[in-house]
C-alpha cells in the first residue's frame, strides 16, 4: 500500500515534468508541427537536383493563387476583376498581387542585341528550303503593307519578319495576353482577366488557410456584385488544403461527438458512472504528452501526420484502463485495488509488451515518417500504461463502480458462444470460412495512386481543370529534368530532347513544351543559325540586294542594313536572358548550378495521361535527361510504404508470438488467432467488395494487431476463474474502438475511410472471434497434461 502510494506520487512528479515541458514547447517556443509530406520521405531518396526541381515546379505553385474573372464582354470582365482586386489589395501581407501586365515596360530591349539570331522553327526550315525570291517578296510585302503582319520595331530592324515570327511562336506557348494593362485569356465564349497572387505563408499553414479562403470568397462575391453574370475561377493549393482541412475538422467534429456520446452512454450502462471515462482520458492524455516530449527530444521536430496517427495508436491504451475497471467491477468490495492490480499486472504487462513490439517494428523501416509514428505511439502507450498502473488503484477504490444494466446482460451472451474444436461441424464451418478468405484475398488488388487519395470538393477540381484548359498551363508534376556539366551542355541536351518530342506533338500526346532553350538557343545552335543567315538572307548578293533594287535604294543601303542586322546578332547567354524582365515567367525552368551540376526543366503543355509511358521513353538513351513523374513518384513511395508495412505487420506477429510464448506456451496461438483470423477476413471482404489495398489499410491492420492482442491476452489470462471481467473489458474496448475508429469509415477523406473501414471490420471480427479461442479450465488442464 505504502509503496504504491510512493509510486503514485513519483508518477505525479513525472507528469508535472511532462506538462511543464509541453507548456514550454507550445506556449514558450511556439513550435509548429511540420505539414510537408516530403519531410516524411526517406532522406536517402532525395536527389538534391531532383529535389530542387520539385521545389521550382511545385513549391512555387504551392504559394500561388490563380484567379480568372470572366464575363461576356471584356469591359465587364475588367470591372468584375477590379472589384475582386480591390477586396484583396489591403491584405497584401497575406496575398500579394503579382506584377502581371504592368511588368512589360522595356520588355523587348533585352532581345534587341540578339534579335537577328532569334528565328522560329518554321522560318528556320524555310531558310534552308526557300529560294532567295521568297525572302525578297516577303520583305517587299512587309515594306509596303500598311498592316503588314506582325512587326516589332522599324522595317529595317527585321525586314524579313524573322524576329517577329519567333516572338509569335513564343507567344504561342501561352494563350495569356496583355490587354489594356491586364492579363487577358479568352475562351468558351467568355473573356477573362487573369490575376495571380502569391501567398505569404505556406499553403499548408492553417492560419493562412483560415484567412485566405474567406478573403477570396469575399473578393469573388464583390466581383459578382459588380457584374452579376461574372464567373470567378480560382485555383491554388491553399484552396485544396483548406477544403481538406475543413472537411476533416467537420468530420472529426461529427464523428468525434458521435463516438464520444456513444462511449459515455456505454460506460454509464456498464459502470453506472462516467468516472471511468475521466480516468481513461487522463491516461491517454498523459500518454500523448509523454509521447510528444520524447519525440521532440529525440527528433527535434514533430509532423502533423505523426500526431494524427500517433494519437490514434495511443488510443489502444484505453484497453489497459478498461481491463482494470472491468476487473474492479467483478472483484467485489473485499479485494483492495492495489492487490487487484498486482493480480492483473502480468496480463497488463504482456499487452503493453506486445503493442510496443508491434510499433517498434515500424521503427526499423527506412521511412522516417513511420519511425516517428512508431516512437510516438510506443512511448505514448508506455506513459498511458504507467498512468494506469500508478494511479488507477488510488483513483478507483472498491465500491466506486456498480454493475450497470449492460454489464448484467452482456455476460449471458458469452456462455453459449461457439468454440474452436475438432468437432466435425466446427471444422466444416472453419473450412467454409477458409475458402471464403482465400477467394476474397485472391481478389484483392493494390492501388497506390496518390490521386485515388485525393478528395478535393468537386467544384475545386472543376475549376482547376477549367483553369488548366483556359491557360493551357503545363503540368507541374510531370516534366523532364535535364542536367549537364555547363549551361551550354544543358541547352544542347534540351534541344536534343525537343527533337525527340516533335513526333509526340504531331501525335497529339502533348501540345507543346516550355523550355529555356526556346528563348536561348545553345551557343552551337546560335552559331549554326548565324552561318545559315549569312548564307541566305544576309548573303552579299542575296534578298537584301534584290530588295534594294526594287525599292530604288543603293548598295550603301544594303551594306548599312546588313551591318545593322549583323550588329543585332550578338550571342545570347542563358545568364543574360535570365537577367531580363522577359524571363520572369520562365525562371522556374532554370535550376542553374546545383551541387556542381547545371540543370533545367522542360515542362509539357496539354499532356494526355495516356501518353506518360511514351513521354517517359522519350528520355531513354538521352544523356542527362530524366523523366520526372511526381504523381507516379509519390505513388511509388506509397506503394513501398505499403509493402514494407505489410512485412512489418507479419514480423510483429512473429515477435509478439515469441514474447507471449514463455507465459502461454501451447496456448500462445490462441492469443493471436482471433486477430490474425479477423485481419484475413477483413482483407477478404475488402477483396470481395472490389477495394484496392493501399497503405492506409495496412496501417489499420497494424493498429488492429495492437488492439486484438489485448483482447486475446485478456481472454486467455484467467479463464479458470470463470470471471466475466475479461469478456466485459473486450466488449467495452471493442465497442469504443468501433465508435472511435470504425466511424472513420464514414469519412469523405479516402485515406481515413480506408483506415476506418479496416478498423470497423477488423475490430468487429476480433470481438466476435476472441471467445471462440478460449478454453475451459478442464481443457486447460488436459492441454497441460498432454504437453
Amino acid at each position: 500500500m505504502i509503496t504504491h502510494r510512493r509510486l503514485a506520487f513519483a508518477w505525479a512528479l513525472v507528469v508535472c515534468l511532462l506538462a511543464g515541458h509541453n507548456a514550454w514547447l507550445w506556449l514558450g517556443k511556439r513550435v509548429n508541427p511540420d505539414t510537408d509530406i516530403l519531410a516524411l520521405l526517406p532522406a536517402g531518396e532525395r536527389d538534391p537536383v531532383l529535389q530542387r526541381s520539385f521545389t521550382h515546379m511545385v513549391d512555387s505553385a504551392q504559394q500561388r493563387v490563380v484567379v480568372l474573372v470572366g464575363a461576356e464582354t471584356w469591359r465587364d470582365a475588367v470591372r468584375a476583376a477590379a472589384a475582386f482586386q480591390a477586396v484583396l489589395r489591403p491584405h497584401a501581407d497575406l496575398l500579394k498581387e503579382d506584377a502581371g501586365a504592368n511588368a512589360q515596360a522595356a520588355w523587348l530591349d533585352g532581345f534587341t542585341p540578339h534579335a537577328t539570331l532569334l528565328v522560329g522553327a518554321a522560318d528556320e526550315r524555310a531558310l534552308r528550303t526557300q529560294p532567295a525570291r521568297y525572302w525578297t517578296e516577303n520583305a517587299l510585302a512587309r515594306a509596303y503593307g500598311a498592316f503588314g503582319g506582325p512587326k516589332l520595331g522599324s522595317f529595317r530592324d527585321d525586314p524579313f519578319g524573322l524576329f517577329a515570327n519567333w516572338m509569335q511562336e513564343r507567344a504561342g506557348e501561352t494563350p495569356v495576353r496583355p490587354r489594356d494593362g491586364h492579363l487577358y485569356v479568352g475562351g468558351e465564349g467568355r473573356e477573362y482577366v487573369l490575376v495571380t497572387y502569391t501567398l505569404a505563408q505556406s499553403a499548408f499553414a492553417l492560419s493562412a488557410q483560415r484567412r485566405a479562403v474567406p478573403l477570396l470568397d469575399a473578393a469573388a462575391a464583390a466581383a459578382r456584385r459588380a457584374v452579376p453574370a461574372a464567373e470567378v475561377i480560382e485555383a491554388g493549393v491553399v484552396l485544396h488544403a483548406a477544403a481538406a482541412g475543413s472537411q476533416a475538422s467537420s468530420e472529426v467534429e461529427t464523428i468525434g461527438v458521435g463516438s464520444m456520446v456513444g462511449i459515455v452512454v456505454l460506460t454509464w450502462l456498464t459502470f453506472r458512472s462516467v468516472r471511468p471515462i475521466g480516468v481513461i482520458v487522463l491516461a491517454i492524455g498523459i500518454g500523448f504528452l509523454g509521447a510528444l516530449s520524447v519525440c521532440w527530444l529525440l527528433f527535434g521536430r514533430i509532423h502533423l501526420l505523426t500526431l494524427v496517427f500517433g494519437a490514434s495508436l495511443i488510443g489502444v491504451a484505453q484497453d489497459y484502463g478498461l481491463y482494470f475497471l472491468c476487473h474492479r467491477l467483478g472483484a467485489g468490495p473485499h479485494e483492495d485495488s492495489v492487490r487487484l492490480l498486482r493480480r492483473l499486472l502480468p496480463g497488463l504487462g504482456l499487452t503493453l509488451l506486445a503493442a510496443v513490439i508491434g510499433y517498434m517494428g515500424l521503427a526499423l523501416t527506412p521511412f522516417p515518417g513511420l519511425r516517428h509514428m512508431a516512437v510516438f505511439s510506443a512511448f505514448g502507450l508506455v506513459f498511458a500504461w504507467l498512468t494506469v498502473v500508478c494511479w488507477f488503484p488510488a483513483l478507483i477504490g472498491p465500491g466506486t463502480l456498480r454493475r450497470g444494466w449492460l454489464a448484467r446482460r452482456y455476460r449471458a451472451l458469452v456462455v453459449r458462444w461457439p468454440r474452436v474444436s475438432a468437432r466435425p461441424k466446427v471444422l466444416a464451418a472453419l473450412a467454409l470460412l477458409a475458402v471464403f478468405a482465400a477467394v476474397g484475398c485472391a481478389r484483392l488488388g493494390t492501388d497506390d495512386d496518390i490521386r485515388s487519395l485525393q478528395s478535393s470538393p468537386q467544384h475545386l477540381v472543376r475549376d482547376q481543370i477549367k483553369l488548366g484548359r483556359l491557360l493551357d498551363a503545363p503540368t507541374p508534376v510531370q516534366y523532364y529534368l535535364v542536367r549537364g556539366a555547363s549551361d551550354e551542355q544543358v541547352l544542347q541536351r534540351e534541344e536534343a530532347l525537343k527533337r525527340r518530342l516533335d513526333p509526340l506533338v504531331a501525335r497529339g500526346d502533348i501540345t507543346g513544351w516550355q523550355a529555356l532553350s526556346n528563348w536561348v538557343p545553345s551557343a552551337r545552335t546560335q552559331a549554326e543559325r548565324l552561318a545559315l543567315l549569312d548564307a541566305t538572307v544576309l548573303a552579299p548578293d542575296g534578298p537584301l540586294a534584290a530588295l534594294a533594287q526594287t525599292l530604288g535604294e543603293d548598295r550603301d543601303w544594303v551594306a548599312a542594313t546588313r551591318a545593322h542586322l549583323r550588329d543585332r546578332a550578338k550571342p545570347l547567354s542563358a545568364e543574360a536572358f535570365l537577367r531580363t524582365p522577359a524571363s520572369e515567367p520562365w525562371r522556374h525552368l532554370w535550376l542553374g548550378k546545383v551541387d556542381g551540376v547545371h540543370a533545367s526543366i522542360v515542362a509539357l503543355r496539354g499532356m494526355r495521361y495516356a501518353a506518360i509511358p511514351a513521354l517517359s521513353r522519350a528520355a531513354d538513351e538521352l544523356e542527362g535527361v530524366q523523366w520526372v513523374d511526381k504523381v507516379g513518384g509519390i505513388s511509388a513511395v506509397l506503394g513501398r510504404y505499403r509493402a514494407v508495412m505489410g512485412a512489418v505487420v507479419l514480423g510483429a506477429y512473429a515477435l509478439v508470438f515469441l514474447a507471449l510464448l514463455p507465459r502461454y506456451r501451447g496456448r500462445t496461438w490462441r492469443v493471436l488467432a482471433p486477430t490474425a483470423a479477423a485481419s484475413v477476413l477483413t482483407l477478404a471482404i475488402l477483396g470481395l467488395t472490389g477495394q484496392h489495398l493501399q497503405l492506409f489499410h495496412v496501417l489499420a491492420l497494424m493498429l488492429l494487431l495492437g488492439v486484438g492482442v489485448d483482447y486475446g491476452i485478456f481472454m486467455q489470462e484467467d479463464p479458470q476463474r470463470g470471471d466475466d471481467a475479461p469478456w466485459l473489458a473486450v466488449g467495452l474496448s471493442a465497442a469504443s474502438t468501433l465508435l472511435s475508429f470504425g466511424l472513420l469509415a464514414l469519412s469523405g477523406t479516402p485515406a481515413l475511410r480506408a483506415f476506418g473501414l479496416t478498423m470497423l471490420l477488423g475490430t468487429a471480427f476480433v470481438w466476435l472471434a476472441a471467445p471462440c479461442f478460449t478454453i475451459t479450465a478442464k481443457e486447460r488442464h488436459e492441454a497441460t497434461v498432454t504437453a
Binding site: D98, Q104, N138, A141, A146, S154, R156, G186, Q514
Partner: protein
Amino acid sequence: MNYLPAAGLLLAALLGASAHAAAPVAKIQAMLAKPEQLCGRFEQSKQLAGMKKPLASSGRFCVVAGKGVLWRTLKPFPNTLRLSRDEIVQLQGDRVAMRMEASREPTVRMINGVLFSLLSGDLGQLDTLFEVDGTAGDGAWKVALKARNPALARAIGAISLEGGAYVRTIHMVEDSGDRTDIVFSDIRTGPGAFLPEEAAQL
C-alpha cells in the same frame, strides 16, 4: 502565370503608328455614316527609317460590319490582307504568306475589331483601347489616338484620323521612325460597293 507581353506588341505592330487634340466624340460619331458595308480606294505612302524614298502603293479596301476587313494592295504588286472573325490571312498572289488563327492567337479578334473600328471611324469602340482627342467642325473632324496602355503606346506610336461622313486619311507615326499616310477615296456603300472578286473573298 506565364504570359507574354510580346503578344500585345503584336497587336501594336499590326496597327503600326502619334498625335493629340480635344474630344467631341459624340459629335463626330453623329457625323459619321455607319454603313453595313463600305468599299473604296486607298493611296498609301510609307516612309521607312533609313530609306531615302517613300514607298507608294495603292489598292482597294472593304469593311463589312460583323464580317471583317479586306485590304487589297494592287500596286506595285498584289497583296491581300483579310481579317475575319476567326483569322487574319495575308496572301501574296495565291500564296498564304501569313495566317493567324483566333483559336491559337486570341488577340486576332481584338486586332480585327480595332482595324474595323479604325477604318470605319467607330470611335466608340476605339475608346476602350485609346484616349481619343479631337476637334469637330463643319462636316469635318480630326482626332488623335493615344493608346491607354503604355506598352501598346510605345509600340504603336501615334495614330491620327481625319474625315467627315467617312474616314478620309490615316496617319501613323511609330516610335521606330517608320511613318505611314493613307488617303481614302471613291468610297461606296451598300451591297453594290463590292467588286465580285471582293465579295468572293470576304
